[in-house]
C-alpha cells in the first residue's frame, strides 16, 4: 500500500504557539520521510525536552521523547542495538548545546549513522525564554530582563570540531529547502547535523521571520561545495575547510543556508563494530535470540568457563 503524506501525521493536537517555526520543521520532517518512502515502523525519532522536543508526538513513527539533553545517547543506544532503524534526533538549542553539549560533542566522535536536527530559536522556549547557548552576546530578547551575558556557540563550528561528517543549515519557514536538507542528511552515512534557524515569535523578538528573510541565502547559489574524501589533498582540504569556517562565521547582513560540510572519509560506528564482531549486522543485539523455545538460555559459555574450572 502506497503511503500518503498524511500517514506521517498523528491525531495529537499540536500545541506550539501560533507562528512558531517548529511547524515548518515538523512539515519538513514529515515530507522528507514521505518522499524517502520510509516505513513509519522503521523510523525512530528521539527528542529531549523543550517545545522542540514535542515533535515526535506529531509524527507517525516511533517517537521517543526523552530527557532534557539526553536524546543523543538514547538514539545511539537504539541505533546500535538495531542498526536497521532510521534514526532522527531532535535537539533544542538549550537541550542540545547547553545541558546536552557533552553528548553533542561525544556523539560527533562516534559517527553513528543518524540525523540530528537542531532547533535554534536562541531561547529556552518551554521555560519561558531564557537565553540559550546560541543567543549572541549582548542581545536582549523581550523575554530577558538584561542583555545576554554569554557568548554564543556556533553550532556549525562545534559540530565540525566534534567530528560530525555532514553539517547543514536550514530555515524553519523554508520548508522545501529544509526538507531537501533533511533528506540529504538521512541519506548521509554517518552523523549528520541539520542546524535549523527557528523563529520563536513569543520570546525571541530579534531573530524573527522579518529579520531572517532579507539575510538568508543559499550556499550552493554561490557555487559553494565542501566534500572531503580520501582523495582530497591536504592542500585542498585546508582550502575547503578555511572557506567552510568563513561561511560558518558569517552572521550579519548575510546568513548562509545549505550544506556546509560533507566528510566521506570516515567509517560509521556500526561499521567499526562490524569489524570487531563479524555477525553484528546479521544478528544485531536487538534481534538476537537468547533462549530456546523452553526458555533455556542458548548462550554457550562452556569454553569460557574452562578459564575458571579447577
Amino acid at each position: 500500500m502506497e503511503l500518503k503524506l498524511t500517514d506521517y501525521r498523528t491525531e495529537v493536537h499540536v500545541n506550539w504557539c501560533p507562528g512558531c517555526g517548529d511547524y515548518g520543521i515538523l512539515s519538513s520532517i514529515q515530507q522528507a520521510l514521505f518522499e524517502l518512502k520510509l516505513d513509519p515502523s522503521n523510523v525512530a525519532i528521539f527528542s529531549g525536552i523543550g517545545c522542540s522536543a514535542k515533535t515526535p508526538h506529531y509524527i507517525n513513527a516511533y517517537g521517543v521523547h526523552t530527557l532534557h539533553g539526553r536524546a543523543l545517547p538514547y538514539a545511539i543506544g537504539a541505533k546500535l542495538a538495531n542498526p536497521e532503524l532510521t534514526v532522527l534526533v531532535i535537539l533544542g538549542d538549550g537541550d542540545g548545546l547547553g545541558i546536552g553539549a557533552g553528548h553533542f560533542v561525544n556523539a560527533g566522535r562516534r559517527n553513528v549513522d543518524l540525523t540530528v536536527i537542531l532547533y535554534d530559536n536562541g531561547v529556552y522556549g518551554l521555560t519561558k525564554g531564557q537565553a540559550s547557548p546560541t543567543l549572541k552576546l549582548g542581545l536582549k530578547t523581550k523575554s530577558l530582563p538584561k542583555p545576554n551575558i554569554n557568548q554564543a556557540i556556533n553550532p556549525i563550528l562545534l559540530a565540525f570540531a566534534s567530528g560530525y561528517t555532514f553539517i547543514a543549515r536550514g530555515y524553519a519557514y523554508d520548508v522545501p529547502y529544509l526538507k531537501y536538507l533533511i533528506k540529504e542528511a538521512i541519506n548521509h552515512k554517518g552523523s549528520a547535523l541539520v542546524h535549523v534557524l527557528q523563529p520563536c515569535p513569543v520570546y525571541n523578538d530579534i531573530n524573527t521571520k522579518e529579520w531572517y528573510t532579507p539575510r538568508l541565502y543559499k550556499l550552493e547559489q554561490e557555487g559553494y561545495e565542501c566534500i572531503i574524501t580520501n582523495e582530497t589533498t591536504e592542500e585542498e582540504y585546508l582550502r575547503k575547510i578555511s572557506l567552510m569556517i568563513q561561511k560558518a562565521n558569517e552572521w550579519g547582513n548575510r546568513i548562509p543556508l545549505g550544506i556546509f560540510y560533507r566528510d566521506l572519509r570516515y567509517t560509521t560506528y556500526e561499521e567499526r563494530i562490524e569489524a570487531r564482531i563479524p555477525s553484528y549486522r546479521l544478528n544485531p543485539p536487538a534481534k538476537q535470540k537468547i533462549s530456546d523455545p523452553f526458555g533455556k538460555p542458548i548462550t554457550y559459555i562452556d569454553k569460557i568457563l574452562e578459564e575458571f574450572l579447577i
Binding site: S41, A44, N82, S291, I298, Y300, I301
Partner: protein, 656 residues
C-alpha cells in the same frame, strides 16, 4: 591445619605484581583440592602505594577472612612495616634480606598515622625492618629471611636474562617461599604458574625456574622444618570454579542474554565491562526440535559493549538499546549511579526494562574508590524524584552474583521496570572456589512482547497498539522499536495509553496506579527463595542475625564456629530489597532476639526493616572503615552480644 584454615597475605607496592602473585598462590592451593577465599586491598593509585592480597584456605569451604596471617609473604619493606604484627602465634614472615636496613623514613607511602604508630611502639623515629622483625619475634612470629637477589642471580645465570628484568618476579619468590615452607608440591605450583600465565612459554619457564630456585633456597636454609604446617594435596571428585564477583556477574549477563552493555570507567565496576568486551563474540546453541539436537553456532551471537562519555549517557544509551529490543544493562559504582538517577526515573516512568549493576564502594562522594562498603541501600531504593516501581536485589556471594545477574533481566522484562543489582567492591574483587554454575536450571523470561504478527492481527481487528494499555494483567505488552505494523510513543511526561503527554488528573491516577501496582504483582509472584535466604530457621534460636549482601560469607563462617560452641544461631539474609518481603521478615523476627549486621555507618537495613515492620533490632553491628568484616572481629562482637555484654551499636574497626 588450625580450625580457621590457613591465612596467607602477600603485600607490595601497587603495580609490582601483587595480584599475579596471589593468583599463582591461590590457584596452586585450589589445584591441590582446597577451598580458597581471597580478597584484595589496594589504594586508588596506579603505581607505588601499598597493596595486599589476603588468602584463606581450608579443606572445607571458606567464605571470609580473619585479620591475622599464618604466613606473611613480603618482597618490600612497607608490607612488613604495616602487617608484621598481624601474625598468629607461630606464624611466619617471609622477607627479602635486602630490606633489613630500610627505615620508616625511607618509605614515603607509609601514611603518617601508621608511621607514628610504629614510632610510638619503639619510642623512636628511626625504626628499621630488622627492628620490626625482632619485635615480631617477641610476639612468637617466626622470620624467614631470604636473599631474593641471590635467587634471581641464579636464574639470571641459568637463563642469560638481565637481572633488572627479573626483579619483577620478586612476587613469585615470596609465593614460592610460602609454599615451600608449607611443604607444598612444587609440581602443582608449576602447574599453577602455567595456568596463570596462560601458557605463555617464556614467562612460564622463567617463573617456574624462580619457583624451583626458591624451593631449593628454602630447603637449603632448613626453613621447612622450622614451620610446622604442611599442605598436602587432597582428592576432589568434582571440579570447582575459581572466580571473582565481577566475572560471575559478567558470565551471568552473557547467559542471561544481555546483548548491550554500556559503561563509563569506574572502580570497581569497570572490570566487568572489560571482561564482557573481551568476550563480545559469543557462541550460541541452536536447538533443532526435529532432531532434538543442539548445535553450537560459533560466533553467531555477540554483546555490544560501549564506553560512553559519562554515566548519564551510559544509562540512557542502555535504555535506547532496550527500547530497540536488546536486553541491556550498565554497570557502575557510587558516583556513576549518582549521575544515573534521572535516567532511572525515566525507565520507571516509561516501563523500560534495564539492569543497573551497582558496585558499592567506600563513600560518600569519591570516598574510597578501591575500598568496600554497603552504604548505598537507601540511595538506590529512593533514587530519583517522584514515585515509580523498581526492583532491587542484593547478592550475598559469588554464586548469587551469577544467578541474580540473570534473574535481574527476567524481572526487568517481566515487570517492565528498572532493576538494580546491588553488589559491592568486596564481592567484585574477592575470589572463591565455588560449585560450578548450574546453567541447566536457569530460565529466561522476557515477559509479554508483541511481534509484527501480533500487531498485524491487532490492526486487522481494527485496534491500535497502545504501549501503555490499561488491561487486567496490569502489564501492557511491549513492542520493540522497528517492529512492523505499529509504532509507539513514549515520554517522561505523564502520558495516556498511547504514550502521548497528558495532564488529565483521571488518567494520571490510573497510570500512576498501573505503574505502582506492578511492584505488588512482583512481590506476589517472586518466590520466597529469591527474596531471602533463611538459614537454620528455628523457633528457639539464641539469636537471629539479619543481614544483606556480601556479609553473608562471614556470617556463615561465624555461625559454623558458634554452633560448635553450642549456640543456636538463625540467619536471615535478605536478598530482595524492593519489593521488600515485609511479611516474611516480620514473621521471622517478631518476638525474637535479633541483630543486624551491615558494612555501613547507619544500619540502613535495620532502618528499612523498622520502616516495613515496626521492629527494631536488639543490636546493630556496623563497619565503615572501607574494609570488609572479618571472622575474628564479628566473632568477638557477637559473642559479647550473646553474653549480654554489648552496647546497642557495635562498630568494627579491623583491617589495614
Amino acid at each position: 591445619m588450625n580450625n580457621r584454615g590457613i591465612s596467607w597475605l602477600i603485600g607490595g607496592a601497587q603495580g609490582t605484581g601483587i595480584e599475579r602473585g596471589a593468583s599463582i598462590f591461590f590457584t596452586a592451593i585450589a589445584m591441590a583440592g582446597y577451598y580458597v577465599f581471597g580478597k584484595r586491598e589496594y589504594h586508588s593509585n596506579i603505581m607505588g602505594e601499598h597493596s595486599y592480597y589476603y588468602v584463606r584456605f581450608d579443606s572445607k569451604p571458606v567464605y571470609s577472612h580473619i585479620e591475622k596471617y599464618n604466613i606473611l609473604a613480603s618482597y618490600d619493606a612497607e608490607t612488613i612495616f604495616r602487617h608484621s604484627l598481624e601474625g598468629l602465634p607461630g606464624s611466619a614472615i617471609i622477607y627479602d634480606t635486602g630490606y633489613l636496613n630500610v627505615k620508616t623514613k625511607d618509605v614515603p607511602t607509609l601514611d603518617k598515622r601508621v608511621r607514628e604508630d610504629i614510632h610510638g611502639r619503639f619510642n623512636n623515629n628511626f625504626v628499621s625492618i630488622s627492628d620490626i622483625i625482632e619485635e615480631a619475634k617477641s610476639y612468637g612470629i617466626k622470620s624467614f629471611p631470604i636473599n631474593y637477589k641471590e635467587i634471581l642471580n641464579k636464574v639470571a645465570l641459568k637463563t642469560g636474562e638481565k637481572l633488572s628484568e627479573l626483579t619483577r618476579m620478586n612476587n613469585v619468590i615470596a609465593v614460592s617461599a610460602s609454599l615451600a615452607i608449607l611443604k607444598f608440591d612444587l609440581a602443582i605450583l608449576k602447574k599453577a604458574i602455567d595456568r596463570v600465565f596462560k601458557g605463555r612459554k617464556v614467562v612460564v619457564k622463567l617463573n617456574s625456574l624462580v619457583a624451583e630456585e626458591t624451593y631449593e633456597m628454602v630447603n637449603s636454609l632448613g626453613y621447612i622444618n622450622e614451620f610446622n604446617i604442611k599442605i598436602s594435596p587432597i582428592e576432589n571428585k568434582s571440579k570447582r570454579l575459581l572466580i571473582n564477583g565481577n566475572q560471575a556477574i559478567a558470565l551471568g549477563k552473557l547467559v542471561g542474554g544481555c546483548r548491550f552493555q554500556t559503561y563509563y570507567p569506574i572502580t570497581p565496576a569497570t572490570d566487568e565491562s572489560a571482561y564482557l568486551e573481551e568476550h563480545e563474540i559469543l557462541d550460541v546453541e541452536n536447538y533443532d526440535p526435529v532432531k532434538s539436537e543442539r548445535e553450537i553456532l560459533k560466533g553467531a551471537g555477540s554483546i555490544v559493549v560501549v564506553e560512553t562519555e559519562d554515566e548519564i549517557a551510559a544509562i540512557t544509551m542502555a535504555l535506547g538499546a532496550s527500547l530497540a529490543g536488546a536486553r541491556a544493562s550498565t554497570s557502575t559504582s557510587g558516583p556513576g549511579f549518582s549521575l544515573m538517577v534521572e535516567g532511572l526515573g525515566f525507565a520507571g516512568m516509561n516501563e523500560i526494562p534495564v539492569v543497573i549493576t551497582h558496585y558499592q564502594r567506600g563513600g560518600p562522594s569519591t570516598g574510597m574508590p578501591t575500598r568496600t562498603e554497603q552504604g548505598d541501600l537507601r540511595f538506590v531504593l529512593h533514587a530519583s524524584h517522584g514515585e515509580f516501581p523498581r526492583i532491587v536485589i542484593a547478592s550475598g556471594d559469588i554464586s548469587e552474583c551469577f544467578y541474580d545477574a540473570i534473574r535481574c533481566f527476567n524481572y526487568a522484562e517481566k515487570y517492565q521496570l528498572p532493576v538494580i543489582h546491588l553488589v559491592d567492591r568486596f564481592l567484585a574483587h574477592s575470589v572463591e572456589t565455588i560449585e560450578p554454575f548450574d546453567i541447566k536450571s536457569v530460565r529466561i523470561d522476557r515477559g509479554i512482547i508483541f511481534d509484527e504478527n501480533d500487531l498485524k492481527k491487532l490492526k486487522e481487528g481494527g485496534e491500535k497498539y497502545k504501549r501503555f494499555i490499561f488491561n487486567s494483567t496490569g502489564i501492557s505488552p511491549r513492542i520493540f522499536l522497528g517492529t512492523k505494523n505499529a509504532v509507539f510513543w513514549i515520554t517522561g511526561d505523564e502520558h495516556d495509553e498511547l504514550g502521548h503527554i497528558t495532564e488529565d488528573p483521571v488518567i494520571r491516577d490510573k497510570m500512576m496506579e498501573k505503574r505502582m501496582k506492578k511492584i505488588e504483582i512482583a512481590e506476589r509472584e517472586i518466590p520466597l527463595e529469591e527474596k531471602v535466604n533463611h538459614f537454620f530457621p528455628s523457633y528457639n534460636s539464641d539469636l537471629t542475625i539479619v543481614s544483606w549482601g556480601s556479609t553473608k560469607g562471614v556470617i556463615l563462617d561465624l555461625i559454623d564456629e558458634l554452633s560448635k560452641e553450642g549456640y543456636k544461631i538463625e540467619f536471615l539474609q535478605i536478598r530482595l530489597m524492593s519489593p521488600f518481603p515485609s511479611n516474611y521478615v516480620e514473621k521471622v523476627l517478631f518476638n525474637k532476639k535479633w541483630i543486624c549486621v551491615e558494612n555501613n555507618y547507619s544500619g540502613q537495613l535495620a532502618g528499612l526493616i523498622r520502616e516495613k515492620t515496626g521492629l527494631k533490632p536488639n543490636n546493630l553491628i556496623v563497619k565503615y572503615n572501607g574494609r570488609p568484616i572479618s571472622l575474628d572481629e564479628i566473632y568477638i562482637a557477637v559473642k559479647s552480644i550473646l553474653e549480654g555484654k554489648s552496647s546497642y551499636k557495635v562498630v568494627l574497626r579491623g583491617g589495614a
